[in-house]
Subunit: 256 residues, 2 copies
Amino acid sequence: MAQVISIANFKGGVGKTTTAINLAAGLKAKGKKTLLIDVDPQANLTQSLGIHDQIEASVYHVLHKEAFGEETKLEDVLVSASGLDLIPSSLELAGAELELASVYGREQILDQLISSLKTYDFVFIDCPPSMGMLTINALVSSDFVMIPLQAEFLPLKGVRSFLKHLELIRKLNKRIELLGFLLTRYDHRKKMNRQVREELETEFNSDKVFKTVIRTNIALANAQEKGIDIFSYDKNTNGAIDYASLTEEFLSKFNH
Amino acid sequence: MAQVISIANFKGGVGKTTTAINLAAGLKAKGKKTLLIDVDPQANLTQSLGIHDQIEASVYHVLHKEAFGEETKLEDVLVSASGLDLIPSSLELAGAELELASVYGREQILDQLISSLKTYDFVFIDCPPSMGMLTINALVSSDFVMIPLQAEFLPLKGVRSFLKHLELIRKLNKRIELLGFLLTRYDHRKKMNRQVREELETEFNSDKVFKTVIRTNIALANAQEKGIDIFSYDKNTNGAIDYASLTEEFLSKFNH
Ligand SMILES: Nc1ncnc2c1ncn2[C@@H]1O[C@H](COP(=O)(O)OP(=O)(O)OP(=O)(O)O)[C@@H](O)[C@H]1O
Ligand SMILES: Nc1ncnc2c1ncn2[C@@H]1O[C@H](COP(=O)(O)OP(=O)(O)OP(=O)(O)O)[C@@H](O)[C@H]1O
Ligand SMILES: [Mg+2]
Ligand SMILES: [Mg+2]
């Protein structure tokens, strides 16, 4: 049975999509079978893996069929993109927020679909920057949640209210646990970055804050433009070094 | 009659809130009367002006009353925060997306409320990173939209789909116009930044891209932590210099 991990934070632009791609690629290099699911209507994860045309069959179509009782499964829309297994998103997903709002069991639609996935070690769900039906569906289907954030004032504020929402989600999914906070665009020379890191470690207990931090590195954006992960782009960049070290630390949390 | 400007982009973390505060502060220094409205449930604008306690009366309460036919106006919840006039947000706003979804005329609730504001030169609306009911209400009530973005691959992709949505909004608000794209965290030494800037200027016509770019400057985050604008924090930072130049360029678009 796969371990399902949501990569979520309703604060925008903190590196959710960048982390999903590069952690999945790092795990693949370690021989683990990983699946990426893009539930962001922006479809940034799908685009960052080189898929730019309008997708005919995406996670939207599967969610919609499941919500209205038609026979369907996630594997129906599975694609291989830059060597990674992906359930792609599409712009129709923006309509799903309102469409799903009145469906019976609206928070558990994705959970029904994910429980039938047997062949993966890890499933990562890339969430949009909001706490709507799509993020709720992701959290309800997850064993863990990973929260990327920039070590700055506003993102730190957002995390506390995100965790309050997570407590409410526990009513629908008792098993969800915080896997950890991942600091992105981190510069140890900046006092604010160091202060926020210390604050997180004191407030939430240091084993909930990944020791690996991701430094600012434009190569991460360059790789996304080319539609590939950072290791395929250039193994010698800070981005590749940091995400390789994150992969090690991630696996150590699962005793692999 | 005030000029109403939405600061919007459904891509997250691009500097919407940072721009709203510092442009409003820049205009105030030039003697203009400006109002800020925070329609992001994250309430980052409200927090960045030093308001951290749970707000009793926020934009949520006014939108809710207006939607259900009770007498109300935005001035009822107006506060002065760090010298700026603000209609604050609160976490209840997260529920507004679903609550407003079934209300008659759900896209025009904010527009009804804004048209009675007479005393301001400029009203800025800080939007959340999504294209839900709150952003739609902001765009329907606006004369202009300003789109901050980082000059990178994913944010550029997001802009094209944002503009498609804007075309749909025009059905509800014929007057809305693109005031311009504002490049944030810009570094002219990075090839990708220069390329994206050129692409924008070619694709959308160069008068739609602000000549002023905002450089990466941690002082902008420091100022938010202290709950003040960048000019009050330190006039000699790159952030203050860039936002002062943006203020000049902004005013030149309105022949002031
Ligand atoms: N460590 C980093 N260094 C430099 N750039 C980065 C880094 N991480 C992410 N980026 C860039 O910053 C932007 C935002 O990152 P990303 O899209 O992964 O964030 P997100 O949290 O998924 O955003 P959203 O909230 O919109 O979904 C992208 O253009 C990405 O290429
Ligand atoms: N030019 C800049 N240089 C350095 N840091 C910046 C700059 N602009 C914004 N920031 C910081 O980046 C983070 C994101 O900025 P901000 O919150 O303004 O973006 P946003 O688009 O409003 O985000 P959201 O989509 O979550 O509403 C904040 O921590 C802010 O302090
Ligand atoms: Mg993303
Ligand atoms: Mg914001």
